[in-house]
Amino acid sequence: MDLQNLSEMIAQGFEDVDRLARNMLKVFICGSHIDGDDKDLENARDEIKNELKVPGVFLMRDIETKQKLPYNQKFDLVWTHIAKGDNVPLCIMYAGKNAGKSQGLNAEIQAVSTDPEKKASTHLIRFEGIRLVNHADEFPSYHVKGVDEFKGTAKRLVEAKVKEIASYLLRQKEGQKGRETGKVKTLINKGDIIS
């Protein structure tokens, strides 16, 4: 199949709002890479990609830098580039069972906590009882007891974000259709209970 036909097929495929939302989302999984934690991050990336059909899932180490940078500076550089693009970033920070020893993760938490834009897109999933810098308490945090619980929580966060994007796109699409046909669908009716 040539690029022209492929382009047609791709553009048509993205008429599906759910598929569009899943491709718009960029998930960055960061966290300690010490000992076994490394493998947990890799597994989480692959499972989110394959099971949730969200292809844009990256670990920090999937993105290389020309110069070797400390972990928090690398995160800052990657984020600057992400922010330039049309995408919706979601950052999941994982403090696994060995995270207490990780200076990189603690530096990263500190750096993210001072940047309102990054902070708004970041969730922290931490093993119970792991000691982290005080700034860690400023994030939406999820305490987990095991790796499976971490992966389950990460998947729920991603799925929730997908639904949020899809819902917005659907509303826009309905509005667009309404403007074209002259029939604007009323989303909120008089008497509706808004909780």
Partner: protein, 107 residues
């Protein structure tokens, strides 16, 4: 100044569902660096349509001018590099056209 997240969502949707924008984007991905004239030959699209698509793609960092803002050569932006790798996962047919190796370059 960066766009707000709702503008980004809408702009992404406008690009991803636009056949012409996707064709121009994939042609840039195929050649790594491509001149506007080559794009015209490759896509068989009128220059006006290519320019409209390029403007959209540049706005979302799917492509960027290489190396200065007045250049008529284009390459993938970081967002475009990530997106093309995603598309290759969803559409394995693309790997034949664009190669299997990752398009994400070191920052």
């Amino acid at each position: 100044m960066t766009k707000n997240v709702f503008s980004k969502m809408q702009d992404f949707a406008n690009i991803a569902t636009d056949r012409v924008a996707i064709q121009v984007f994939l042609s840039v991905a195929k050649h790594k660096v491509i001149k506007i004239g080559q794009l015209e030959e490759e896509t068989h699209l009128p220059l006006e349509s290519i320019n409209v698509a390029i403007e959209k793609l540049e706005g979302g960092n799917f492509v960027e001018r290489n190396p200065n803002p007045a250049s008529q050569k284009f390459k993938l932006g970081f967002n475009g590099q990530m997106f093309v790798d995603q598309l290759k996962i969803v559409y394995p047919e693309l790997q034949e056209q664009l190669g299997k190796e990752s398009h994400i370059e070191p920052l």
